[in-house]
Structures are given as structure tokens and as C-alpha cells.
């Protein structure tokens, strides 16, 4: 498989498995954080804005 003889070797990354996977893991977590925070903020905004508009409509 690519530059590695076996899948186990790929996971071990020489003796640097921990370092390599930790780096990619951190990057992945921060990417997911960026995506999910935008999605959650957007959802929260629309729920709040809709309720507010409805309230204004009822008041007038």
C-alpha cells in the first residue's frame, strides 16, 4: 500500500505513529469544530429571528 509494506506499518508510521496521527487528529477536530460551530450558530440565529419576527407581527 503506497509507501508502506502493510496496513500495520502504515498505522505505526515507523516509530512516529503517535506524532503523525495526533497531528492529523488535531487538524481534523479543529476542521470539524469550524464546520459545526457555523452550522449551530446559523440554526440558533434562524430559530431566534423567526420567533422575533412572529412576535413583532402579533404585536402590530
Amino acid at each position: 500500500m503506497g509507501d508502506f509494506a502493510s496496513f500495520t506499518e502504515f498505522l505505526q508510521m515507523g516509530k512516529h505513529g503517535l506524532y503523525v496521527w495526533l497531528s492529523y487528529g488535531i487538524a481534523l477536530v479543529i476542521f470539524i469544530y469550524n464546520i459545526s460551530s457555523v452550522v449551530l450558530l446559523k440554526r440558533a440565529f434562524f430559530t431566534k429571528a423567526k420567533r422575533q419576527l412572529k412576535r413583532e407581527e402579533n404585536a402590530s
Binding site: 500500500m1 503506497g2 509507501d3 508502506f4 502504515f10 508510521m13 515507523g14 516509530k15 512516529h16 505513529g17 506524532y19 503523525v20 495526533l22 497531528s23 492529523y24 488535531i26 487538524a27 479543529i30 476542521f31 469544530y33 469550524n34 464546520i35 460551530s37 457555523v38 450558530l41 446559523k42 440565529f45 434562524f46 429571528a49 423567526k50 419576527l53
Partner: protein
Amino acid sequence: MTLKLPQWFYQLASPRWFYEFSGKLLPWFSAVAIILLLTGSVWGLVFAPADYQQGNSFRIIYVHVPASILAQSCYMLMAVAGAIGLIWKMKMAHIVAQSCAAFGASIAVISLATGAIWGKPTWGAWWVWDARLTSMLVLLFLYVGVIALRGAFENTQSADKAAAVLSLVGLVNIPIIKYSVEWWNTLHQPATFTVTEKPAMPPEMWIPLLIMVLGFYCFFSVILMHRARLEVLQREMKTSWVQTLIKSL
């Protein structure tokens, strides 16, 4: 004297136009970002050859270098957008600057964390107070400072102005990061990519790196557009087009 600017500059300044235009761009940028990031990481992790000195720990380069480049580009965009906002009183520019801050801070964290993890097997230490690492840490603090400063104001316009001024002052750190490896003796290796010279590594190592850099930029544009669109809606809540849009959902 008034400066004549191209028409797209004025269009871009309209939050509504931005909202509609970015809505059309988003699916394309998202697709390209996913393709580039997947290709780049599989290529870098599986197919690129191990470094003859560093072994497989060198594969960290495929997240570390793109994150570091992007953290600086994102800062420059934030500062330039802030300046445009200050000079032309453009709402949209401040919205872009605001959207850069949180993302930039998170990417600077990736750069510093992967750098520390790479430093351990390569230099034998997680952290050294070397010029490149320290100036990069200052970049993270600048991002955090801009976010905190913005949060300290109730009034959006004052927050915009203060954040723009701080980002412009912090711009001085960018050349310091860039030249830190040349001006001082550092452990950190010099730049991987330069405009004038061919990369020192073989193509099977630098092509996936280039793909990852482009992928990181695409991901940045996607998050930036999403954040800016949300900010447009929040700031333009009083306008009829936003109210119509909210009601239609």
C-alpha cells in the same frame, strides 16, 4: 478628490449582493475543498515517500505548512479588510474582517500544535523559544486580542473600528514571522515554498503539499463565506429582504 473604483468593488460592498453571490459560490468551493483535502492527505500519508532523515514524522508537513501559511494569509486579509472598512466605511469589509478572526485563531492553533508535535521527534523538544515559534505564538495572541477587543464593545461600529486598528497594528508581526528564520539563528527550517526557487524536495513530496495548501485555502473560503453570510443576516435584520428570507424558511 474622489477615487474611482471598479464597479465590482461597490457591488461587493452591498451585503445583499454578497449574500446572493456567495450562495452561488459555496457549493463549488465546498466540493473542491473536500476533493483537494482528501486527495492531499491520502497522497501525503500513504503515497509520499518517507524522508530519509526524519522518517515518517515528516508527513506532519502536510497539515503543519498549510495551516501556518493560512494562519498568516487569514491575518493579512483581516487587517486589509479592516483597513478598507476604516477608509471607505464599508460595512461588508468589517463583516469579512470579523469572520476571519475566529477561524484564523483556530488555524494558528493547528499550526502551533502540529509544530510542537513535529518538534518532539525531530528536535527532541515540544517547544523552544525560538524566533519563528515565538512570532507564531504572538500571531495567535493577536487573533485572541482582536476577538476579545471586539467582544468588549456593545456598539458594533465601535467594535469594528477598534478591531480594525488592532489588526493593522499587529500586521507588523507578519514580516517578522516570514523573515524570522533568516534574521535569527533558529531551529526551524527555512520556507518550503518560495516564488523564485524550485522546492528542495522531490515532486512526489511537494505536489501533495501544494494540493493541501490549496485545500486549506478552499476550506477557509467556505467557512469565511458561511460566517460572513450569517453576520450579514444578523446585521441586516431590520431590512425587508432579510425579513422576507427568514419568513420563507
